[in-house]
């Protein structure tokens, strides 16, 4: 508290003052300051008028920002639709901008989505989208079931539902042939007033039942293709309430079915897909959520109110804090690490974390704790360092707007969550934050917290050994190498997208691209899993090679930061070399492409006997003569190679 007073963050500005300030900053040439204010303006006033202002200034700033530190990832998004979406587009672009994404949007013509998807030369494919949403409403997708249901015999209704599913299956199949872009398919909403009234609820073969069945089939179809996802439009409408969501007047006059107040919600729902989909391009994923304690994790101040005074438990006023804690545990199950950053006496806070009967999250759920009176920005830097992630991988949750603004000002790359004033709304604010969305979960994601705890024990053990080799022998590492499979595809793509440090080329791939590569005869995709006496690291390394003539080129070679410095990279390289030699290749070649973050991998090729072949402005090319050299797997790693290749 005293910090906030002695070191005040910028005062809240009125939106109209902010607008004038932004235009002033642009005129002065302070482009990245203007961009930060622009994103502040959107957070403060996310309305239609603001969206037009934000997007027009963004269009002005785009080229100038490229020369500053302000990072914007480009993303191309196509909307195929059966209704008016134009008023949503500026809201969507402004919302994307607040996530550091420069969204270019293509809107298809009304109801031409079938032709657009089937015709490989359509404007959709010429736009070369990164992602496409198929925003089709039930009245268009299933007109017979929607408008004329009472006319249909049960058999005819069932057939109509089958035709709808068959149609989707064909269009999606054609889409996958023509494009590697992600596809987001809206599910169909159920009618709010079914044609047969309450009778409809009595049978699975009624109007609602058949639409539910179509939705189930859409999920099945999506699961059969890589990079196809369902947006549960039916649940979205239900969440906001059909009566609120719809605007019959705008629908009949302008083909706009969604009420003005909910257009932003539609844009935000799309963002929950766009944010994780754009991670491979931006290299940004929120991996750690750092939470405050007082008035965030529990109500009240532990240092003043004590164990008996703080509010957290199943009944109000403790209930909203339990609801937030449940949301945090759900994030942790998705592989997002939790950490604490709180201004408190350590003993007070730990007592509450360990012993308060109302707490659902406990000290063991946190991968890092910073409970002290130090500046939060400094603590956040330390947490990032301890967990081996970039500052931009942190998200910050704090009830105090002053702390939030200070963190934003000191560390602009952090995702700061604006908690609403009312604790009843805390859990929803966390659950609806697009930064934590994931489109696939690997086994590693689900046990990440346990792995970090084992990592702490390893770090403790390492200090007791005289030499590194003694420590490696003590670790009893076992590595398992195998070619990519359906089970490992998601994790392999995820590692190419998230790994920044031990990554020789930092090439980002989507699942679809990896699947495509795996089909090519000249390409090899390997993964390595590692376990040791402290536990299982899971799938932590990926190597992708491409045979060209006598050469085997290393396209990608990366290791998760969890196993850096454990000689796993030598084991992986030994296998690449052996496998290339077995296929008759004479040379192994690879680039090292330096980035701001991959210094840990810089000397890898040199240390493993490669010779420098060439250097250019992007990096250096290294080669190893396989006819005279064979890199060995370190004898302290037990290597098991699965030969499904």
């Amino acid at each position: 508290m005293s910090d906030a007073i002695s070191n005040p963050p910028p005062a809240e500005r009125h939106p109209s003052t902010l607008r004038a300030e932004i235009d002033g900053l642009i005129a002065q040439g302070a482009f990245d300051a203007a961009a930060r204010r622009l994103s502040e303006l959107w957070r403060r006033d996310p309305a239609a008028g603001t969206a037009s202002f934000v997007t027009s200034r963004l269009d002005e700033l785009r080229d100038k920002l490229a020369l500053t530190n302000f990072q914007l990832a480009k993303f191309r998004f196509a909307i195929l639709r059966s209704f008016t979406v134009e008023p949503i587009v500026p809201l969507l672009r402004a919302e994307a901008f607040a996530y550091g994404i420069d969204l270019e949007v293509h809107v298809g013509d009304f109801n031409t989505y079938v032709q657009d998807m089937l015709d490989g030369r359509s404007s959709l494919y010429r736009f070369a989208p990164n992602a496409v949403v198929l925003a089709v409403r039930a009245d268009q997708a299933a007109p017979e079931l929607w408008s004329d249901f009472a006319d249909l015999s049960p058999e005819a209704a069932r057939q109509a539902a089958e035709r709808v599913v068959h149609g989707y299956e064909q269009w999606i199949g054609a889409f996958r042939k023509h494009s590697q872009a992600a596809l987001i398919v809206h599910s169909l909403e159920r009618p709010s007033s079914p044609s047969l009234g309450v009778l409809d609820g009595q049978s699975e073969a009624g109007q609602s039942g058949l639409i539910r069945q179509i939705n189930r089939e859409l999920r099945r179809i999506a699961s059969e293709f890589h990079g196809v996802y369902v947006l549960d439009y039916d649940a979205l409408v239900a969440r906001h309430g059909s009566e609120h969501w719809h605007d019959e007047r705008k629908w009949l006059t302008a083909r706009l079915p969604i009420a003005a107040d909910y257009l932003l919600q539609m844009a935000r729902e799309w963002m929950r897909f766009i944010v994780p989909l754009s991670a491979p391009l931006s290299g940004r994923t929120a991996k750690v959520l750092v939470v405050d304690l007082d008035n965030t994790l529990w109500g009240g101040v532990i240092g003043e109110d004590g164990m008996a005074g703080i509010k957290v438990g199943p009944e109000y006023p403790g209930a909203p804090y339990q609801a937030l804690q449940r949301a945090l545990l759900d994030l942790s199950r998705k592989g997002i690490l939790l950490a604490v950053c709180s201004k408190n006496n350590l003993d007070d806070a730990m007592e509450a974390l360990e012993k308060h009967p109302g707490m659902l999250v406990r000290a063991k759920h946190f991968a890092a704790l910073r409970i002290n009176w130090t500046d939060k920005a400094q603590n956040l830097r330390e947490i990032a360092q301890e967990l081996n992630v970039g500052i931009d991988a942190l998200a910050f949750l704090d009830d105090n707007p002053f702390e939030r603004e200070q963190v934003r000002a000191a560390l602009p790359e952090i995702t700061v969550i604006d908690l609403p004033k009312n604790p009843l709304e805390y859990a929803a604010a966390v659950r609806n934050c697009a930064a934590f969305e994931r489109l696939a979960l690997s086994a590693e994601d689900q046990q990440r917290t346990e792995m970090y705890v084992a990592q702490k024990e390893r770090a403790g053990a390492e200090q007791n050994f005289q030499s590194k080799e003694d420590f490696f022998r003590y670790l009893e590492q076992e590595a398992e190498l195998e070619p990519v499979t359906d089970l490992t595809l998601a994790r392999i793509a995820q590692l190419t997208q998230k790994t920044n440090q031990f990554n020789l080329t930092t090439r980002r791939y989507t699942e679809t691209q990896i699947a495509e590569m795996a089909k090519q005869p000249d390409w090899r995709i390997f993964s390595i899993k590692v376990r040791d006496r402290f536990g299982d690291h899971g799938l932590v390394g990926v190597a992708i090679t491409h045979d060209v003539g006598e050469q085997c080129e290393v396209d990608t070679f990366l290791l998760s930061c969890r196993v850096i410095g454990r000689t796993v990279e030598s084991a992986l390289l030994a296998h690449l070399a052996a496998s290339a030699a077995e296929r008759g290749r004479k040379r192994l070649e690879g680039w090292f492409l330096p980035t701001k973050k991959n210094a840990p991998a810089r000397d890898f090729y040199e240390q493993h006997g490669f010779e420098l072949r060439a250097t250019n402005c992007e990096g250096s090319l290294w080669a190893l003569d396989l006819t005279s050299c064979a890199p060995l797997c370190p004898d302290w790693i037990k290597l098991k190679v699965s030969d499904r290749d």
Binding site: A48, G49, S52, S56, T84, P87, R249, A260
Partner: protein
């Protein structure tokens, strides 16, 4: 039409059509503002409803043929709501 309503409508129109506010007069219309097409017209309708808390009927929307006409419409709807 009062100056303040006109000014507010002009600011909304300036955002939507991406034209500097000082270039917009009461007579500005789809004929004089190039970006004022049917889709931007819809965005103008939504922005006016949001800004002034009014509900525009299809007949009202047809009357929105110039920035001045929009300001007059807003005042009429606001005074009707007060009665």
């Amino acid at each position: 039409m009062t100056a303040s309503t006109f000014e507010q409508v002009r600011n909304v129109a300036s955002d939507i059509f991406r034209v500097p506010a000082d270039k917009i007069t009461a007579e500005s219309s789809p004929e004089t503002i190039e970006s004022w097409d049917s889709m931007q017209h819809l965005n103008l309708v939504l922005a006016v409803e949001e800004k002034f808390g009014v509900q525009l009927e299809p007949e009202d929307i047809e009357q929105m043929k110039s920035v001045g006409a929009v300001a007059e419409l807003v005042e009429r709807l606001q005074s009707a709501a007060r009665q």
